[in-house]
Symmetry: C2
Subunit: 250 residues, 2 copies
């Protein structure tokens, strides 16, 4: 059984103010909790069904987290997703440290991605394509929002998100920058050089003016139909698929 105090504490972490104060966040669902236990994040509390805890006993013991056994119905009430019927965890945030990008490495720059689902899906996509770093503007959705964490499907454990001022980051990085515009070079024939920053613009406004002027390679995703734009996470995936294409041996 979970105590009222613990329940209140876990629920409070749905609010950004309390996450910041406690430096903790919630991971919901079996997949996310399993990935968390395997990761470099500190797991503070694991709440799970008897089944889940039994199945993952070794990794839970190793994590030294507080363990609370719960019924499936209670689990759904604790978190923000009604479909969770196996586990939930509280984890400690990691420091907001600037990434040191390796030679030939690509990273994403998120210019005000406001939708939590988009941010989560972008992190998951970055992880699929082997990227390790995402650099996000302060207007981008909070990584530790439960919707973001959930949409990453565990990829938050492998892709580090660093929040900073993007124009400043670009200018001090000295790296090549790529961004999608309507008048750029066809992404199918563009040459992605030896690493750099790929800028993903805001859902409705695209790439902001201050950043747009700093972009060294303007690219375009070919359009054959009537849609005016693509969803931000969809555009990210298409660009990354074209970036890695040249790097893979078939």
């Amino acid at each position: 059984m979970i105590s009222k105090a613990r329940l209140k504490y876990i629920k409070s972490l749905q609010v950004k103010k309390y996450r910041k104060q406690e430096q903790c966040f919630v991971v919901e669902g079996a997949k996310g909790v399993q990935e968390l236990l395997r990761s470099s994040f500190e797991t503070v509390i694991v709440v799970g069904t008897e089944d889940f805890i039994h199945k993952h006993e070794a990794s839970i013991i190793r994590s030294r987290a507080e363990v609370i056994v719960s019924k499936p119905d209670d689990l759904a009430q604790m978190g923000s997703f009604q479909t969770n019927d196996s586990a939930l965890a509280v984890a400690r945030m990691q420091n907001n440290e600037p990434p040191s990008l390796g030679s030939g490495e690509f990273a994403l720059l998120l210019d005000d991605i406001r939708d939590p689902g988009n941010l989560g899906s972008i992190i998951r996509t970055a992880d699929w394509y082997g990227l390790h770093h995402v650099i996000a503007s302060s207007e981008t959705a909070d990584l530790y929002n439960p919707k973001v964490i959930h949409a990453t499907m565990g990829s938050f454990t492998r892709v580090k998100v660093y929040n900073t001022d993007l124009p400043e980051f670009v200018s001090t990085s000295g790296l090549e920058t790529y961004g999608a515009f309507l008048d750029g070079e066809d992404v199918h024939s563009a040459i992605f050089g030896n690493g750099g920053l790929i800028v993903i613009g805001n859902e409705s406004g695209g790439i902001s003016k201050s950043l747009a002027s700093m972009i060294t390679h303007r690219i375009t995703i070919p359009r054959l139909g009537g849609a005016e734009s693509l969803n931000a996470s969809v555009a990210t995936a298409v660009i990354l698929d074209n970036v890695v294409r040249g790097r893979l041996i078939h």
Copy 2:
């Protein structure tokens, strides 16, 4: 001013049962309503701010829709999105007619895409890449759900969605079928022939067994990192980008 009866009617269309009964659905936001007015869909009611109605007077008159002037605050209350401050419309559903695919044409087959945002984004992506038809299983989210219509960003006016039994559709179509699996041919080197059906699997379960056995071309999106899968709309975009690549003259 909008009457109580009209307000109640519009609100009722957020529920599938009433949409089916009335054969009508709601389009929210300026972009969607503009696209609707330009489309082959019948517009039944336009609710808009004075500004919106003045700006789109010609197309609204042509549509012969009932026009209701509204304040921005009232508009947000009418629909399901709190950010709508310009227009909303009621439109008539179109018949669920089987598509007649042209030679060389590709269409998407959606095998239980349950998330409305995913379905909307898939329709938008299909539209971007010039597809005209989506064939969806009965377990796929309802096209006329306000969240789906909104996520299409107007593409529901150009891409027709047909609901049917997928295995039956595939077997009677006699077309080539493509589907993403973990053990398929690399999508970067796969040859997409002269049209066919591209199957997109369910968000958590992938492509169902009954359909999987009917797929003639198993493809795989190359993975370099740790994510186990891609979001369904993201995977759709990567596949379509590779399908059209061979067809474009650079």
